[in-house]
């Protein structure tokens, strides 16, 4: 299956190189959860058989990240949004499918070949308490990526670059001698952002960068990310579960459920007219400040386990509109009148 996918992607790659920065094609990722070899052996019907179980984290995702946009991926925990981010960054290898950066395949490169791409692609993590090394000063933390990616720079050049990065996120360069624990959560997240910006990347993957922060600090960090995008013409892949942040920040939104893409649309379109039943339920659940308590759409049951995926549409068990076809046939993304893309038989048939 891997080979087939690869062949298909090389064809499509050449058509769309001009507008997308990152292309994800037919991405699958499964994690083996059956333990080591001996754990996998089971005694069944008088025979010893080997059984393996997999978590199917991503099941065939196609995404184009266009230059200069902020593509937001939303979904609930366990939907595979973080796995997408990590696979794009090359922190995980895909089980099948390809990832291309400016038309070049990057998912099959080794560490050495990836180095030049890592300079262009940086990542910001959710928890600034865990993503900064507690034993390094801030200056050391920020200098490390600069020296790794610019081995021929002098110490002075490195220091100037670090100061510039610190300055751009509103951290006083004289604080460089301090350690991470001396900073508050918001300041730490700024330092993480400075670390990403220090190597002048083109593309930043931000995995829930503001979820661990307080409301007033969230606004500061979001503003910072938007300013950086404007000044440096950055492209973002922004992973979040917070739809109100998406509405504010995203150019386009991809909604994921159980490892599949259900809807992909421009932010305005999606918020004005969500098409997929899951997107509708998700949007109705946002706690709003307004007085009128709108009835949120209640979904039946819970998210099924990604170990045994449901047949057909992964959402059919909880969908109020599901019929026989939804139980059997996996829906493909179709383009709607508004220009978005939806993977739903109901929308395709005009039922929803």
């Amino acid at each position: 299956m891997t080979d087939q996918n690869t062949m298909k992607t090389t064809e499509t790659d050449q058509i769309q190189v001009s507008e997308s920065l990152v292309q994800i094609r037919g991405l699958y990722k499964k994690f083996n959860i059956s333990g080591d070899f001996l754990d996998q052996l089971k005694f069944k019907g008088g025979k010893i058989v080997r059984e393996q179980e997999f978590v199917h984290a991503i099941n065939g995702v196609d995404l184009d990240i266009k230059k200069g946009e902020a593509l937001c991926v939303v979904g609930e925990s366990g939907c595979g949004k973080s796995t997408v981010a990590r696979t794009v960054m090359g922190l995980l290898t895909p089980s099948a499918g390809t990832i291309s950066y400016r038309g070049e395949r990057i998912d099959d490169l080794d560490d050495k070949q990836l180095l030049s791409y890592r300079k262009k692609m940086q990542m910001i993590f959710q928890n600034p308490y865990a993503s900064l090394n507690p034993r390094m000063t801030i200056a050391q933390t920020l200098e490390e990526p600069v020296t790794v990616h610019n081995p021929d720079w002098t110490a002075r050049q490195v220091r100037d670059k670090v100061h510039e990065a610190m300055f751009s996120v509103g951290i006083d360069p004289s604080w460089g001698e301090r350690f991470a624990h001396e900073f508050s959560g918001g300041q730490r997240q700024r330092i993480s952002i400075a670390r990403a910006l220090a190597v002048d990347p083109e593309f930043i993957v931000a995995d829930e960068p503001i979820s661990a922060l307080d409301v007033s600090i969230q606004a500061q960090v979001l503003n910072l990310l938007m300013d950086a995008q404007e000044k440096r013409n950055l492209t973002y892949l922004f992973i979040t579960h917070d739809l109100s942040v998406v509405e504010h920040f995203g150019t386009r939104v991809a909604v994921m459920y159980l490892g599949s893409l259900c809807e992909l649309a421009a932010t305005k379109t999606l918020f004005a007219k969500p098409r997929h039943p899951y997107t509708q339920a998700l949007m109705s659940a946002i706690p709003r400040l307004e007085d009128d308590r709108p009835q949120h759409i209640k979904l039946q049951g819970e998210v099924p386990t990604p170990v045994n995926l449901p047949s057909g549409c992964v959402f059919h068990g909880r969908c109020p509109y599901a019929n026989e076809r939804c139980k059997q046939e996996i829906p493909q993304l179709i383009t709607t009148d508004e220009g978005g893309q939806v993977a739903c038989h109901g929308v395709a048939e005009g039922r929803i």
């Binding site: 918001g186 007033s216 500061q220 979001l222 579960h241």
Partner: protein
């Protein structure tokens, strides 16, 4: 007489460097069946307040001043035996992370029966019947089989439902919920919050909801308290606070929400961050971050000004209110 009245509450933590006051001068009341939201950022003291209502502050912390009157009796002054009669019985508590709250080596049923038998002289069978009823109330499907499962066999949302069922076991008068849905997804959060409101309304239970999410407070509560650096800075009816916040900090919090901004535009941020409790600025604790700073703000702790149905701790309330109305008149 209100069901719960907190008077002049002060909680201190004795540290080597001296006493740190985590709560100062906290006053509020709660009536039967009323839903109250405690809002604030991390470090504001909202959880400490929640814990101190049940006198659950552990060393080096202590309630250093004030009273917590529950039906007229002071919880701050009770013996451990008397407190045991109230905790989990008359006032119960729901915490953020249900996996930490539930005992992983006991089945749900065992934990529920244990709780019932701690407070009532009741047989195993009867306790189990009540437990199944409560699980039904929180809409857990097939409670008769679920009751014999262990917490790890349930999803996060189901676990939080079980915790709520345990909280409801003794038909308490007050439930204190400390960020009950923060660890959950939005769709689950909406379901759990709806369930809690419904249960509180049906059983006439008062709810103290501790959260950082203004949206949740707006949807669930009738009264709200906004805290900053250990002090209540604004309290009043939820709708009034949400629609017409008086304190510059509350205004800032609301304006910082992406919901309040035009998509793509910069958000209105509050500069700086909350001070550490050891270094609270003199005067108004919010003064280094405030846009309406005056001399009085750095010198004098603001008292409470009544504005509409709200009480606001800000020197500038009257002036801000005037400034707000002026353009309308002109």
């Amino acid at each position: 007489m209100p069901l719960l009245e907190v008077r002049n509450l002060e909680v201190s933590f004795g540290l080597r460097s001296g006493d740190v006051k985590a709560l100062r001068n906290v006053n509020f009341t709660l009536d039967r069946g009323e839903r109250l939201g405690l809002v604030g950022e991390s470090g504001a003291g909202k959880s400490v307040l929640g814990f101190s209502i049940l006198n659950l502050i552990s060393k080096p912390g202590r309630i250093s001043d004030g009273q917590i009157l529950f039906e007229g009796k002071d919880l701050a002054d009770m013996s451990p035996e008397e407190l045991r009669n109230i905790r989990g019985n008359r006032i119960s508590m729901i915490f953020q992370d249900p996996m930490m709250t539930l005992n992983p080596v006991l089945t749900i049923g065992q934990q529920m029966v244990e709780c019932l038998q701690a407070h009532r002289n009741i047989s195993n069978e009867n306790a189990r019947t009540i437990a199944v009823q409560k699980l039904q109330q929180v809409q857990i499907p097939s409670p008769e089989t679920r009751i014999d499962q262990y917490p790890h066999e349930l999803s996060g949302g189901m676990r939080q439902r079980v915790v709520i069922a345990i909280g409801l076991l003794m038909d308490p008068d007050i439930i204190i919920a400390d960020e009950p849905t923060t660890a959950l997804d939005v769709t689950i959060q909406a379901e759990i919050m709806e369930l809690m409101v419904e249960l509180c309304e049906r059983n006439n239970v008062a709810l103290i909801l501790i959260t950082h999410d203004l949206g949740v407070v707006s949807q669930v509560t009738q009264k709200a308290i906004v805290m900053y650096a250990g002090r209540i800075i604004e309290q009043g009816p939820t709708r009034e606070i949400i629609n017409d916040a008086q304190h510059p900090y509350t205004q800032g919090l609301m304006n910082a929400l992406p919901q309040m901004a035009i998509p793509g535009q910069r958000l209105n941020q509050i500069r700086g961050s909350m001070p550490s409790l050891q270094k609270i600025p003199t005067g108004c604790a919010f003064n280094p971050r405030c846009d309406y700073l005056r001399d009085a703000c750095t010198k004098q702790l603001p008292g409470y000004t009544v504005s509409g149905n709200c009480k606001v701790a800000c020197h500038m309330v009257a002036e801000l209110k005037q400034a707000e109305q002026a353009p309308h008149e002109a």
